[in-house]
């Protein structure tokens, strides 16, 4: 299904389009949330709300500002970040680090749902330490690039160029799969 047709269907509240959207993107989007929220129950709760929001607020999506997936991923990412910054969350859980995440994935290998791709651990393998650190802050802890720059006294330009180079490395790796 072409993206345009999908969007049209979603705007028309077409159940098939919604199902298709779920089948095609739920794993990727849930992956975005799971990176930030390690607790699976909370991650699913956040994904539930985020996906419902995506479907019901589809009219807010503006195709001129980017692809549908980008818009959806940002809704999921922001929902997850909001959750980690809520009072309720800080009591229950702590923010993920790559290691906690990877360790968690490994230790829960039997009970956790299948990791569809190669998993975050392998994906991050090819990053150098600097790239890894910046991606950990932004991807896993949900910091903004300005927060990373301030917190770790890095020049903004440095943070930005590390993000760029990290994404390049990750893309190359993802394409190989």
């Amino acid at each position: 299904m072409e993206e345009e047709a999908l969007i049209k269907g979603l705007r028309a509240r077409n159940k098939q389009s919604q199902e298709y959207l779920y089948e095609k993107y739920s794993a990727a989007l849930f992956g975005v949330i799971s990176r930030i929220i390690f607790d699976r129950d909370i991650a699913e709760e956040v994904f539930h709300d985020a996906f419902v929001k995506i479907v019901t607020k589809i009219d807010n999506y503006d195709a001129s500002k980017g692809r549908l997936y980008t818009w959806m991923a940002n809704i999921c990412r922001n929902s997850a970040i909001d959750k980690t910054r809520s009072k309720e969350f800080s009591k229950k859980s702590k923010t993920n680090t790559i290691d906690a995440y990877v360790y968690g994935m490994e230790s829960n290998a039997d009970t956790a749902a299948a990791v569809d791709g190669i998993g975050v651990k392998e994906l991050m393998n090819d990053l150098n330490e600097e790239q890894r650190f910046v991606m950990e802050c932004i991807y896993f802890k949900g910091y903004t690039h300005t927060e990373v720059a301030e917190k770790y006294a890095l020049p903004l330009g440095t943070v930005k160029s590390r993000i760029r180079s990290a994404i390049k490395v990750l893309k190359k790796k993802a394409d190989k799969i």
Binding site: R13, Q18, E19, Y22, S26, A27, A28, L29, F30, G31, V32, S34, R35, E44, F47, H48, D49, F51, V52, K53, V55, T56, S64, K65, G66, R67, Y69, T70, A73, N74, R77, N78, A112, A113, A114, V115, D116, G117, I118, G119, V120, L123, I138, T144, H145, G157, V159, K160, S161, R162, I163, R164, I167, K168, L170, K171, K173, A174, D175, I177
Partner: protein, 280 residues
């Protein structure tokens, strides 16, 4: 415009990550419209993000899908669409109200604790102030005590001097010589008594009236005999009606006091003669 520099700045990645503010977003969108290379790059980054997310995708549990679609269906049917988020918000509000009422005892405790804290703090401040006030008064008392002790010592020294003067005076055979300033222009009202024991040669002096001098000058007592005037000590004009012990005078027909430069002179400055008294 250096398109390549703009692309490699990392700003486009932040744009895709939703990590730019409204103004910056508008700027990137405008640039993308203007420069096809930038638009291409944004699309490439979006593809990269999707590829990365798909490579690290995690499937939610199958139950969750049913739950989500149940929610979506019930929202479709609901006369007033209420997203689960808003529903949660309103239920949270309700539970907040409950929480407020159930948390009342805690508030009471909190209020009580604050009152106790305020009382303790003010009591502490009150006693601290008292302590400092007492400390200050104690310091003042100590200082006064020291002053008094010093004064007493001075008085004792004076008393000793006076006693020895008195002893000499009583034991000796002193002749009193009145010295007056009436005949001299310096101090008409000056009056000093000299007591002289011709045998022991001792001289005592008592000031009745002498003007105080500026600090560069002193009164000097002279014994005038066959060999002319001999300085026999400086006179303290402040010690009135007090016996001052002077140097000995072996021979004197008269005694005189002149004003001399501080510390006294070898011979008297006659223009500054203050009093004179002849031995009878």
């Amino acid at each position: 415009m250096d398109i390549q520099a703009y692309i490699s700045s990392g700003k486009l990645e932040l744009f895709v990550l939703g990590d730019l503010n409204e103004t910056e977003q508008q700027e990137v969108l405008a640039m993308a419209k203007k420069y096809p290379e930038i638009n291409q790059e944004i699309l490439a980054i979006e593809d990269a993000m999707l590829a990365i997310d798909q490579a690290s995708a995690v499937s939610p549990s199958p139950k969750l899908k049913d739950k989500i679609f149940d929610t979506l269906e019930s929202e479709d049917k609901a006369p007033i669409p209420l997203s689960s988020e808003e529903a949660k918000a309103s239920s949270e509000k309700a539970s907040n109200i409950k929480a407020v009422s159930t948390s009342n005892p805690w508030k009471t405790f909190a209020v009580a604790a604050s009152v106790v804290a305020v009382i303790s703090v003010s009591t502490a401040i009150y006693y601290a102030n008292q302590y400092f006030a007492v400390e200050q008064r104690f310091a003042i008392a100590l200082q006064q005590n020291a002053v008094l002790a010093e004064e007493m010592q001075t008085n004792q020294v004076q008393l000793k001097e006076l006693n020895s003067g008195m002893e000499k005076f009583i034991s000796g055979d002193f002749e009193k010589i009145l010295m007056k300033g009436e005949d001299f222009p310096m101090q008409k009202d000056a009056a000093v008594d000299v007591f002289w024991d011709k045998d022991s040669k001792e001289v005592l002096l008592s000031v009745n009236q002498l003007a105080s001098l500026d600090p560069t000058n002193d009164y000097q007592l002279w014994a005038i005999g066959e060999e002319g005037p001999i300085g026999i000590g400086l006179v303290d004009p402040g010690k009135k009606f007090d016996l001052q012990i002077m140097d000995i005078a072996s021979d004197a027909q008269a005694f005189a006091i002149t004003i001399e430069p501080k510390g006294g002179s070898e011979s008297p400055t006659l223009e500054k003669l203050v009093v004179l008294g002849e031995v009878s």
